[in-house]
Amino acid sequence: MIPLPFQIILTAIVASILAGITCSVVGVFVVQMKLSSIGFCMSHAAFAGAALGLLLSTDPLLTALVFSSIVALVLGPLSERAKLSPEIIIGIMFSLTIGLGFIFLNLSPGVAATQQALGILWGSIFSVTFDDLLLLGLLTFFIIFLLTVFFKELQSLMFNRKLAEASGINTSLFYFLILFLIGVTVAFSLKLVGGLLVFALIVNPASSALQFLYDLRKVMLVSPFIGALTCLVGFLLSLLLNFPIGSSIIIVSSFTFCLSVLLSPKRRRG
């Protein structure tokens, strides 16, 4: 184990917890509203965006945000009206965004860029700065704030969009709000686990929580708890075993999911 300054470790720990919380809160929407294909595309678009950011020497976070927002704006209305099946969306967008991402990376000059490029792909939590942490904290606060203020609309939308619409809720507004939040969360978490794995961080904790719970309020509390815990354990594991941080978080998180499927009362008889 390489000795690291305490401050960097602390920053990394706080970052994992915050990312774990935001990703898994947003994940409840993704899983319950079956937005996986869009979310999946957003995460790879964010990766391509970040790669372009490196190439243009701008902040990769910014270009990642722009790219994932574009996906939300384009795919949102399409999938909203079920004009394209999720398989088609994934098939086309996945290859396109990954292709673009690698082209941008290839075009970026210099060794430094390669290091950063690896960071975008697989995450580099130790490069998380205090400013990043601040932004991530703001995002966490913002998402929890929206969730509290609009809980009843979001709950109703998650139960059934058509019924929500029929009872006079502006579902399109909240649908796009959710897509936007997914996009932002993906872009912000990119530094932590990288573009290829961030999506698992979104889906796994929510899926695990949904194995046990029948009340959305509880899911909304337990999912971020699982998310934060798996990120933390994954991070510590990567320090101990010298694994890449993203991979070890995802391994812990996938293990948690498998465990919850095995123990799930929803899948047990009697």
């Binding site: 004009k83 009843k152 019924l163 029929a166 009872s167 006079g168 809720i169 009340d215």
Partner: protein
């Protein structure tokens, strides 16, 4: 704002066509329909004749491609969101997945969410109204169970309770009895009649079961291939379509 029609009109449809996205032919065409405040109207017709489309055109879930839909004096192409808060809707064959994280109590209360408005929480009054709706429909014993774990008929009752909890001025029911046993059918039919009699609730109900048309029903509308082909006093109208044998139905 322009107010169309007379004040006592609840629903007005003028030359309405509704085409589903990606389709060439309208699912309903040339519909002219007026429903007065406090009326109980039943819609019948064979599968695919456009009954569901008609209901969803009235509450604005389906956008019209021609004509005008006015509900409570408001043009549904502009004000549908606001008007929908006053329209209860029980969809046809609504079934939740067994693992969904929603308990019955919350689903019924959700009926009121639009009405409560954004940035507001349900208060004690809202919760009381939802409890009362569950009580009169007879589902209070399921209140804390996940909705997906109920039977089809039980889920149907939840949807009816949800619509009643909304305290609508207009109630749209799409085959609300399709999964109900005889007792439940009678009980809920009685409740709908009572709401109609006591609160003057305007009701538009789709059904296949001609026997379940309540006595309160003042008018039957018969649809076929997207058009209204007959309408009038229930007994007369049903006799007429039997004579025409349009659908090959028998009573």
């Amino acid at each position: 704002m322009v107010k169309y029609g007379m004040h006592n009109k609840m629903v007005e449809l003028y030359n309405v066509d509704t085409i589903y996205e990606g389709e060439a032919l309208p699912a309903i065409k040339d519909i002219n329909l007026e429903v007065s405040r406090g009326e109980f109207v039943t819609v019948i017709g064979p599968n695919g004749s456009g009954k569901t489309t008609l209901l969803e055109t009235v509450n604005g879930l389906q956008k019209v491609t021609r004509g005008k839909v006015i509900v409570m004096g408001q043009d549904m192409s502009h004000n549908s969101l606001k008007v929908r808060k006053e329209i209860g809707y029980v969809p046809q064959d609504f079934i939740s997945d067994p693992s969904v994280p929603f308990i019955v109590r919350d689903v019924v209360l959700m009926g009121r969410y639009g009405k409560i408005g954004v940035m507001r929480r349900p208060n004690e009054e809202d919760i009381k109204i939802a409890e009362e709706a569950m009580r009169i429909i007879g589902i209070e014993e399921f209140a804390d169970r996940p909705i997906g774990k109920l039977s089809g008929g039980e889920q149907q009752k939840v949807m009816i309770a949800r619509a009643i909890a909304q305290e609508p001025k207009l109630l749209l029911l799409d085959e609300p009895f399709s999964n109900l046993d005889i007792d439940s059918k009678r009980r809920i039919s009685d409740i709908l009649c009572r709401l109609h009699d006591e609160n003057g609730l305007t009701t538009l109900m789709v059904t296949h079961d001609l026997l379940s048309i309540p006595k309160r029903c003042e008018r039957v509308i018969v649809m076929s291939r997207g058009r209204i082909i007959a309408e009038g006093e229930p007994a007369d109208t049903i006799r007429k379509i039997e004579d025409l044998n349009v659908m090959g139905w028998s009573l």
